[in-house]
């Protein structure tokens, strides 16, 4: 598969802060690629550099092998769907979608046809004469999408396009976006701070932190095999138990000694050495109530807190050594605070990664300054 976008050693420095630092990525043709991370991590800056709205300090941007690093935005074969849609308030929906075609001096008849087709694609046929202010948020978002797609860009850039919508609408539009991407077959580069949203649509995701890509892989990769504690925490809730590698097996698996749990066999980040302090992580949905058996770790625990979520319950339990863990159980499970129960998880459900307390704290932080 050919490369749609190549970012080579891309860097953007504001003052003495590197907003984006040596980002080096190749995005394949037709791929749905997401950049995720907390605010201020550099994901939007990266997207804006691809669009040409921010000039990189260093590095090269290629679109289908062509160097576009110094091209002005209007000369680039990419289009953007902006966070707040950025529809032109003084133009009708039709004229908003026709804007780019008019700039390209496309004939009136062809514009009418293509805009009509686009409005149909996003289910807005018949709303052409309305003004943006007369449309709902979800409809405006679809106009923004149509306005960019009508130009048949080589790559479509999306900057948190669903950020301003309510949860239910977001879910609907996620499906619609994925369907449209399939239909038009264009490469999508998607920026969001919502890992769930990114997972549900993307072929691959890159998790950014402090201007760097911390991990790049399929959603399954980054969720089940995170490279760092930051990634583990950012992409979901994780139970973390500090431990130490006692031996490295021939197949690359590790034996890890975890205080309170004994020695546990587990897969993990490649390249860990014997004696290295590590964190053993288990996702809450992998922690089961009262399972005994082979290939499992079991431990008795006391329930501290139970939250009913509808389909499931979320429990905080404490193991005898005073470490609390979160688990997710079926909604019919009748656990209550104060109950004692046995919990456990399959050895296959654990993952070991290098210990890094600072990163974990950063991932948990939400109130970071908005990115430029």
């Amino acid at each position: 598969m050919s490369t749609a976008i190549a970012l080579r050693d891309l860097r953007k420095v504001y003052g003495d802060v590197a907003a984006v630092d040596r980002v080096d990525v190749e995005i394949a043709d037709g791929e749905f690629f997401s950049l995720i991370g907390p605010s201020g991590c550099g994901k939007t800056t990266t997207l804006r550099m691809i669009a040409g709205l921010v000039d990189p300090t260093e590095g090269v941007i290629e679109v289908h092998g062509r160097d576009v690093t110094t091209l002005r935005p209007h000369k680039r074969p990419v289009n953007t769907v902006f966070q707040q849609y950025a529809l032109f308030p003084h133009l009708s929906i039709f004229d908003n979608v026709a804007f780019g075609l008019q700039e390209r001096k496309v004939g009136k008849a062809e514009i009418a046809t293509r805009v009509g087709e686009m409005l149909e694609l996003v289910d807005l046929t018949g709303r052409g004469s309305a003004k943006p202010a007369q449309l709902s948020g979800g409809q405006q978002q679809r106009v923004a999408l149509a306005r960019a797609l009508v130009l048949e860009p080589e790559v479509l850039l999306l900057d948190e396009p669903l950020g301003a919508l309510d949860l239910k609408l977001r879910k609907q539009l996620q499906l619609q976006l994925k369907r449209i991407q399939h239909e038009v077959g264009i490469t999508f580069v998607y920026v969001t701070h919502d890992q769930e949203e990114a997972f549900s649509m993307s072929d691959r995701v890159a998790i950014m932190r402090g201007g760097l890509i911390e991990q790049l892989g399929t959603p399954r990769d980054v969720y089940q095999r995170p490279a760092t504690e930051f990634v583990a925490d950012f992409v979901g809730v994780s139970n973390r138990r500090p431990g130490r590698v006692t031996s490295v097996e021939a197949d690359g698996r590790y034996a890890v000694e975890v205080p309170g749990l004994g020695t546990i066999p587990s897969a993990g980040v490649p390249g860990l050495s014997e004696g290295q302090p590590v964190a053993l992580i288990v996702r809450p949905e992998s922690v089961l109530v009262a399972p005994e058996g082979a290939g499992r770790t079991s431990v008795s625990a006391q329930v501290l807190d139970v939250a009913f979520m509808g389909p499931h319950i979320s429990c905080v339990v404490e193991t005898p050594d005073g470490v609390s863990m979160t688990l997710i159980a079926d909604g019919h499970e009748t656990l209550a605070a104060g109950d004692r129960c046995d919990i456990g998880w399959a050895h296959a459900a654990t993952w070991v990664l290098p210990l890094d307390a600072e990163a974990a704290a950063e991932a948990a932080e939400i109130d970071e300054p908005l990115e430029v």
Binding site: A51, G52, L53, R72, P73, H74, N79, T80, F82, Q83, Q84, A86, L87, F88, P89, H90, F99, G100, E103, R104, K131, P132, A133, R147, A148, L151
Partner: protein, 273 residues
Amino acid sequence: MRRRGPKPRVLFTALVFVCLYAPILLVIVFSLNKDAQLLHWEGFTLEWYKQAFNDEAVRKNLGISVQVAVLSTAISLVLAITGGLWYRNATGRARAWFDAMTYSRIVLPEVVFALGLFLLFSELNIGLGVGAIVVGHVVFNSAYATIIMQARFATMSVTLEEAAADLGANRWRVFRRVTLPLLTPAIVVAGLLCLTFSLDDVITSQFLGGTDAQTLPVLVLGKIRLHVTPEVNAIGTGLMLITLLTFLIAGLITLLRPTGAGGMLGLGRKAAE
């Protein structure tokens, strides 16, 4: 116990308003009074308006006033728009200087600028007249226009312009198709304000008009030096009506501006539906 009658603060406010507006009312009343001596009410007439309208000097000076107003407004608007565009990308230090220079043109006494320009033009041997007055009016008009335009720019996100560039518009096309339409309400309001300020300016026009170019307010001032004629009242009332009308239009536009940036276009849309 409650006192009867209006409260002192109401009375005081009323007194202030009477003092402010009674003279204006008097001008209007006497412009319609038959008594040429301006002493008693001797019946209604439009004679003085007819006289003013037929006065060669009044017509010529009204022409000069309009010419100066239109020219100084146009130049001020261009300065305000280009200044606003520059301001968005300027450094904090440059912005502070720009603000200081804008506000000083409003705060400092007009007579200082007028005198300064008068001395400068004489020094450079530049003749006084319409051109000089226009420059003088641009000094304060561009400051007012700048402030109005800045207010609009401040609420305008650059995202719309970025979107236009992203869709393939070059810089000029972005300005033409997005920036300018979004600025339209501010341009109309600033323009009407500038026209008004220019039309009733006396000080700058007096200093820079030289011997040939007299604006209407300067002519009126000259006329009352000898004696106040009913014709002056008619001219005054006429000027007042023009000023009032422009302000009314400006006010309507600001009040009726729909949310977002549609402005006048928004009004047109409502009418069309």
